[in-house]
């Protein structure tokens, strides 16, 4: 009969209206600044650079190998390696800039980095007053300690740390053995 479909529909909206007062599944809004949905561990936003020690710039893991610069699809990374007085290339970046106006958070730089030096940040409440300089992050802003990395990606960081300590131990063992020829440096597989 004409009208039954309409009445059924009205029943559904009425159910949802009443349900919104007692059933959390029918009132799904999270009122953001006061409450926040916990961020999943895998959440990614923009990249940052991991440093080991107290001095952010001196202890960067990055060796300025420029792999991420080459692989970055929108080409938002710009790296210049540090050189000593004689012009010899040192294994650290003099300039490491990421233009986060261009970055599309694809995580490919993280996947291709053989040194676990660049990771994805989770800080999303970002604003800048200027769309050119304000969105161009330099190595000073990008450098964040390993403890921060361990805090935001605990599982992944534990794997990376275990691998790095194992590698260091192996390198130390090799150094102490010395007699044997050094095997080709193993590229650690990209972190999952």
């Amino acid at each position: 009969m004409l009208g039954t479909g309409i009445i059924k529909g009205l029943a559904v909206t009425a159910k949802n209206f009443v349900g919104s007062f007692y059933d959390p599944a029918r009132l799904v809004t999270v009122e953001y600044p006061e409450k926040q949905i916990p961020i999943p561990e895998n959440y990614r936003n923009f990249p940052f650079l991991v440093h080991e020690g107290d001095d952010p710039i001196a202890t960067l893991r990055c060796v300025a190998c420029k792999i991420c610069e080459n692989e970055c699809p929108p080409q938002c990374i710009y790296i210049v390696a540090e050189r000593d007085e004689k012009g010899k290339v040192l294994k650290k970046p003099k300039i490491f800039d990421i233009d986060i106006a261009v970055c599309m958070s694809c995580q490919i730089c993280v996947e291709v980095c053989p040194f676990d030096a660049i990771k994805m940040d989770q800080h999303f409440e970002i604003a800048a007053g200027n769309r050119f300089e304000g969105l161009l992050l330099h190595r000073e802003q990008l450098a964040k300690p390993n403890s921060y990395y361990q805090k935001i990606h605990p599982t992944e960081a534990a794997e990376v740390d275990a691998m790095l300590t194992a590698m260091k131990a192996r390198q130390a063992a090799e150094k102490s053995a010395k007699a044997k020829p050094a095997p080709a440096t193993q590229t650690p597989p990209p972190a999952a």
Partner: protein, 409 residues
Amino acid sequence: MNAPANTNSLLERAPVMIRDWIIGFFPESLRWPVGALLAIAAMLAVFGLVFAFLTLAERKLLGRAQNRPGPNRSGLPFFRGTKLFGLTQPFADAVKMLTKEDIVPRAADHLLHFLAPVLVVAFALMTFAVIPYGRQLVAVDIDAGVLYFFAAGAATELAIFMAGWASHNKYSLIGAMRALAQLISYELPLLLSVVPVVMLAGTLSPTKIVEAQANVPGGLIPHWHVFTPWGAVGFAIFMVAALAEANRSPFDLPEGESELVAGHLTEYSGFKYALFFMAEYFGMIGLTGMGATLFLGGWQAPCAFLEFIPSYLWFGVKMLSLILFMMWIRATLLRLRIDQLTRLAWKFLVPLALINLGTAAFWSRTDSWSGPLQFVRWAIALALIVVPFVVIGRRLTAGLAPRTYRYAT
């Protein structure tokens, strides 16, 4: 009219007493205009506030029906952090609307573009004059009040056409044309659904129609028109036509936001837009108020022992519940197409309303039937309603049905 003792309670008489007290300060010659102005001022204040909070109620209700809380952030100025469940939202909206830039298209007809929102509110307000809000609470008690009401109500659509035409925008123009087609289609069932009430009450005056629905002293069952077979049908047709008349979903075609961007409102901004919005709500208030008057007993309490509650509160409750029902419909239904809209009016509502005239006539002629004949009376009346409904409804929806589907291997 047999007035029980408690109808003269202080609360009941309060509005009239206040009015009399104020006009008592004026000389005899000025009393009538002052009284009229007072009524206008009171109505503007009350319905302005009702409008403000109805917008909030609609947004809250829609929100709750859609699993979200609705507006709940606006607090008080200078008191940061207060929220008050969003109760100050209408005032924040008003400030926003008032301070917004008013943009008039260069090609628009400036005079009509300005006049349309003014007239639409004016016509909507005019309908308020004849609605009896309570015992003795009616601004103008004219004999042809019902006719006056529908004449003034229909004029709002002309203002909407004016808006669409003056905007010099193709969407607005289509919206305006739709508004006119809708007006012509729905004015007829709206009036036809009211005719039985006029017929049985024997008067065109809203106050007398309300009095015709008065409770039997000591009675428990309300003596409202909606509880008769013809009244129920008339009320249903009236509500459907009122939805169309007020341009509410599922008949919000002139606005048609998904097709016509905003229809006749496309070129309006700021306070003029707010005026259209206000007129829409005033239209809703007027039509539901008239619906309550004609079919739901107006300001009458449902039964005699509930008459200690002031009559204007009863009227407010009835009107608000009808408005909430309209909002509930908006939360659920989708929009008709213009040809279906007119078809629904001409091929479904008009025939049903005409048959309903016959039902009402039958009902009034058989008033004397009692005992077992009472059942016969009800059966015949119900058959007169259900059979045409099913037959015409089936013809209207011919070929439309949920389908079953086959599957590939």
